[in-house]
């Protein structure tokens, strides 16, 4: 939709200091890198903190987050839509309770349990992340659809839209902001939980946190945690941008 002149801009809201997050991430990372430059690293630290290894771990971490979040969306959004249809509404509460339980279990528990039951590796870590982050997306999809004004649905049906047309032209677009908020929460959760994936041999920035603890080396520990934090900030920032972009106009 192009914008005509003289049309009042509906999205007049100011981007709430959207630069704070990326700036903070950059400052943190730069500070940490500067510290590594000036600090005199011992042999263990030098062996662990190879630039290539840091880059690899970061990419692994991002892969874990992206893969698990995509899977969460693919599972939770259609499920949420299905559960909010009139005929399946009675199933909503029990499914939500189940998803709730998934999130209530400590993430490290899910990871270890899955590692014991099914094995270790990247895909197992993804499965654990999906179980963990399913709830916010599922719940927000359902809530997002439920909060759509009934009179709009009535108007749609009254004009002769089929149930499917009402879903696609009225309900889903109006649920998008709430659904996006859920996806954003899932993303942030996943950045944090993916730091534990190291315990199932799936790599990621958690590797540095783990070896930092094992070897009792502050620079290694610092690298792992600062990069995880910076990544979370960047992801949150990007998700916020996407949220603004994808929100339907006119709301």
């Amino acid at each position: 939709m192009s914008r005509a002149e003289g049309v009042i801009d509906v999205e007049a809201e100011a981007p709430v200091a959207s630069w704070v997050l990326p700036v903070l991430a950059v400052v943190l990372t730069a500070g940490m890198l500067g510290y590594l430059q000036v600090a005199s690293l011992d042999s263990i630290e030098q062996r662990v903190l190879v630039p290539d290894a840091i880059l690899d771990a970061t990419i692994q971490h991002i892969n874990l987050v992206v893969a698990s979040t995509l899977l969460v969306i693919v599972i939770a959004v259609p499920l949420g839509i299905l559960l909010s249809r009139r005929r399946a509404r009675w199933l909503g509460a029990p499914v939500l309770a189940l998803a709730n339980a998934g999130q209530a279990i400590p993430s490290i528990g899910v990871l270890v349990l899955l590692a014991i039951l099914v094995g270790v590796g990247f895909s197992m870590a993804v499965v654990a992340l999906v179980i963990y982050a399913l709830l916010p997306v599922l719940r927000n999809t359902m809530v997002g659809l439920q909060q759509v004004d009934r009179s709009l649905i009535d108007a749609g049906r009254g004009m002769g839209m089929s149930a499917r047309q009402v879903l696609t032209t009225i309900e889903l677009p109006l649920a998008v902001p709430v659904m996006l908020a859920g996806i954003r929460v899932a993303l942030i959760l996943n950045v944090g939980v993916a730091a534990l994936a190291t315990y199932t041999n799936a790599g990621g920035l958690g590797t540095f946190i783990e070896s930092g603890i094992v070897f009792n080396r502050m620079p290694i520990l610092l690298t792992g945690s600062v990069l995880t934090i910076a990544l979370a900030l960047i992801v949150d920032w990007l998700a916020g941008l996407a949220e603004n972009k994808l929100r339907p106009r006119g709301l």
Partner: protein, 342 residues
């Protein structure tokens, strides 16, 4: 402006013989699931083509339920619905609704669609192409008194409540449906704007001549708008179904009388036009006369006479057809008066 609101556009069944009855309800009944009584007890009603029928009645008497059975947003428990000679009780409801305009109190404009997209919804559902929808949308916005250039690209929340309901009416008219059902369309609008919308809508109806079923619980709105008024009692039982004048002059029973409230005789004067008053021809009588056009209501004329201290009324007309009435003659004529043809 537009004259495409003919009766030609959308006959639901062109094969049926021309029929003066547009909507016919036969033994229409509704009991909601889990209820022990009928919300609408078997109801029979005939609504003529081009007629403006208003349902009034106390809250919970089943006006909305009856209305929503006509476009099958509520499925009747039993009974039949005929529209334009065709039994639509079991036809595809989505298709049916595309040919019945629907206006509700909450308006229900889709907030993320522009005004023009909202108005174009039903034509789009009917598969019109874009080239046909665009001019149609502009025509309709014009018709309801909104400048297309100014409003078509706006979003609903950039309009006032009154403007939104104009768009709601335009949207319902978009595909030129022969029938419109309206559930308290002006109910949430401030009194001054409501009056304006009522006046405009009456004028509009004089041009487009839709068959309209209109729900309200405001008896004054019903008297002002309806060709005929259905006064509902408990469970949609018809207490009286008649013209406003008939209801004011001959209420069927005490229930109707109490529903209409006090001042029936005075209110009737608002339904009569001075041009329709019988009696008294030419001759000028004594005292200063107040000159008014024939479409003035007796109510408004009396008001002006009181204001001006005039004891006679001069009604404009063709040269030679002007008439003059004394206060006495006016009241006598009003007591016998006919209804204003609408």
């Amino acid at each position: 402006m537009s004259d495409s609101f003919g009766s030609t556009a959308l006959r639901l069944d062109s094969a049926s013989p021309p029929n003066d009855v547009m909507i016919k309800l036969e033994g229409l009944r509704k009991r909601y699931p889990g209820q022990s009584t009928d919300s609408v007890r078997p109801l029979d009603m005939e609504i003529r083509r081009g007629e403006f029928v208003v349902f009034v009645g106390p809250s919970g008497c089943g006006k909305t339920t009856t209305l929503r059975m006509i476009n099958r947003l509520v499925e009747p428990t039993s009974g039949q619905i005929w529209i334009d000679g065709r039994d639509v009780t079991h036809t595809d409801p989505d298709e049916l609704r595309r040919h019945i305009g629907y206006v509700i109190q909450q308006v229900g404009l889709i907030p993320h669609l522009t005004i023009s997209q909202n108005v174009g919804l039903v034509p789009k559902l009917l598969g019109w192409d874009k080239k046909r929808i665009e001019p149609r949308v502009d025509e309709l916005l014009d018709l309801v008194g909104l400048d297309p250039a100014q409003y078509r690209r706006r979003y609903p929340k950039q309009l006032s409540g009154g403007q939104q309901q104009r768009v709601g009416v335009a949207r319902a008219l978009a595909a030129d449906p022969p029938v419109m059902v309206m559930d308290e369309p002006f109910g949430a609008i401030d009194p001054i704007t409501r009056e304006r919308l009522q006046d405009e809508f009456l004028k509009l109806q004089q041009r487009i001549r839709k068959t309209i079923v209109f729900v309200t619980h405001d008896i004054d709105e019903a008297l002002k708008l309806g060709d005929r008024i259905a006064i509902f009692g408990e469970s949609s039982q018809l207490a009286q179904f008649a013209t406003p004048l008939e209801i004011l002059s001959h209420p069927a029973d005490d229930y109707v009388r109490s529903f209409v409230g006090t001042g029936a005789a005075i209110r009737r004067l608002g339904l009569l036009r001075v041009g329709d008053l019988e009696g008294a021809g030419g001759g000028a009588g004594a005292g200063p006369a107040l000159r008014v056009p024939p479409e003035t209501t007796v109510y408004a004329a009396l008001e002006q006479m009181l204001d001006a201290g005039a004891a006679r009324l001069a009604v404009d007309g063709e040269p030679g057809a002007e008439r003059s009435l004394s206060l006495q003659e006016m009241l006598a004529a009003a007591a016998r008066g006919r209804q204003v043809p609408s």
